[in-house]
């Protein structure tokens, strides 16, 4: 990881590094939560699904803890320039990480609510593949933040298209099944909701990447096209 260094106050370096470390730890916890949620849904493991829901409390507590740490830095250090952007980036990213936790919880609840027949292997395979992509996006988004690597962040932004594509495909398949056989509606809806949650997680991972570009490049890229972001990352603007 690229440690923050160089301040006359080493304590300030430590405090900024601690903010990033805590975000990464929170992200890792949410990553596990998401992995468990997908696993629970696919395996039909209700106990694991309950654990996923329990984890949400820890995630929420970590969010508050990081927020307080950042407020403390703002109040006592009055950060500027890249330090200010870093603190704003952490404060905004924890919001997205927390939402990812909520979506993981939502996926777990689809299993617990399920009182219909299990999805077919092919349907579960679709969720599994989409889940892998989203998990990978989340892990790389956090890594881009930790390493302050805008090129990696850009790479993750580009991956979201594949996730959106998966979501569209799962939606279409299930709508077709539901139209053909109304008994499939409950199962189809659960699958669509899970896919929708994964698609949302991809968007949150994108946001984290946008903050990591904002920190390193000083430009807000959240409403730019892919080509425009590419130009910012490669200093062509």
């Amino acid at each position: 990881m690229n440690k923050i260094t160089g301040h006359y106050s080493h304590a300030y370096d430590d405090e900024l590094n601690e903010a990033v470390d805590r975000l990464i730890r929170m992200g890792a916890l949410v990553g596990e939560q998401l992995q468990d949620a997908i696993k629970a849904f696919i395996k039909g493991d209700r106990e694991l699904a309950s654990q996923v829901i329990q984890t949400d409390r820890k995630v929420n507590a970590q969010e508050i803890d990081i927020e307080e740490h950042c407020l403390d830095i703002i109040a006592r250090r009055q950060p500027t320039a890249i330090d200010l952007r870093l603190i704003v980036g952490v404060l905004k990213s924890i919001n997205d990480v927390e939402r990812i936790g909520d979506q993981a919880e939502h996926i777990a609840k689809q299993l617990l609510d399920e009182d219909c027949q299990r999805p077919t292997d092919a349907q579960l395979e679709d969720i599994d593949m989409m889940g892998d992509k989203v998990l990978n996006m989340l892990q790389q988004a956090l890594l881009s933040f930790q390493r302050m690597d805008p090129a990696l962040a850009l790479d993750v932004l580009k991956q979201d298209r594949l996730v959106d594509h998966d979501y569209g495909r799962i939606l279409r398949h299930n709508l077709t099944y539901m139209l053909e056989d109304t008994r499939q509606i409950t199962r189809g809806l659960h699958l669509i909701w899970v896919a929708r949650a994964l698609e949302r997680i991809g968007d949150h991972a994108q946001n984290i990447c946008e903050f990591s570009i904002f920190i390193t490049k000083g430009r807000n890229v959240s409403h730019l096209t892919e080509d425009e972001v590419d130009a910012v990352v490669h200093d062509k603007v």
Binding site: G6, S9, P79, A81
Partner: protein
């Protein structure tokens, strides 16, 4: 962000030498009307030296030589035919340590207008004293004791008295050299509020060691380092995304 794009002062390739030592190494700068421009930088970077060039205060220092061009409203300020006393009425200065004259509050303000012949009768002088103290936000606090010595005021009040004294001769530009460094936080806030009000009528250039003060009060900020001006730009941009690594190191408290 600058509030006005009318050019008030212009510096071109300004160099200042103390004997053989080059303290300012070729600075180009525009100062716009009604803006607050702050100079920041480490001690000895030349920011105060450059500020003093802007009203020819360096003229008084032996061995000090200024080259290059500095203009006020398109007029060369270093033109030998120029009346320096008149120039310093147009470009007032407020110093780090409040320095009221050992006279009454009234006389502190009235001294300049009398010197420059700005008032022909007592009532006109009274008006100038009152309006200057009003503009400096000091009138209410001192109106019943104008005959008392200026040195008897608190530090913050003395500094506002000095600002009122500067305003009294109707300057166009006010230079401030660390105007709050000898004041407590409340007196500092009052002066900062005052600067914000004054910029409606004056152009203000200030040197400050307090970066947060520059961030709070200025429209644009210039960063000086070892006699050079490294970067100048909008204060918001400077404090969120400076262009130069040396600026970033300085404002974030890093050793470069």
């Amino acid at each position: 962000m600058k509030t006005n794009s009318t050019l008030k002062m212009k510096a071109e390739n300004v160099r200042v030498f103390y004997g053989a030592n080059e303290a300012i190494k070729g600075i180009d700068m525009n100062v716009y009307q009604n803006e607050v421009l702050a100079f920041i930088g480490p001690s000895g970077c030349g920011k105060s030296t450059f500020l003093r060039c802007l009203n020819r205060m360096n003229d008084t220092i032996d061995q000090c030589r200024v080259t290059g061009l500095i203009e006020l409203d398109g007029q060369d300020m270093y033109d030998p035919r120029l009346d320096v006393v008149q120039l310093r009425a147009q470009i007032g200065m407020v110093f780090q340590k409040p320095n009221p004259f050992p006279k009454s509050i009234y006389d502190n303000i009235a001294y300049g207008p009398k010197l420059h012949g700005l008032a022909s009768k007592k009532s006109e002088l009274d008006d100038i004293v009152e309006s200057s103290l009003q503009k400096a936000g000091l009138w209410k606090e001192v109106k019943d004791r104008l005959d008392q010595p200026g040195t008897g005021l608190s530090g913050g009040q003395q500094q506002r008295l000095c600002i009122a004294r500067t305003i009294a001769v109707s300057p166009e530009v006010i230079l401030m050299d660390e105007p709050c460094s000898a004041l407590d936080p409340i007196a500092t806030s009052i002066i900062e509020e005052l600067i914000d009000e004054l910029k409606a009528n004056y152009t203000i250039v200030m040197v400050t060691h307090n970066m947060q003060q520059a961030a709070r009060v200025s429209d644009r900020t210039a960063f000086f380092h070892m006699g050079e001006m490294i970067e100048i730009g909008s204060t918001t941009e400077m404090f969120t995304k400076p262009n130069n690594k040396r600026t970033e190191d300085y404002i974030t408290g890093r050793y470069g």
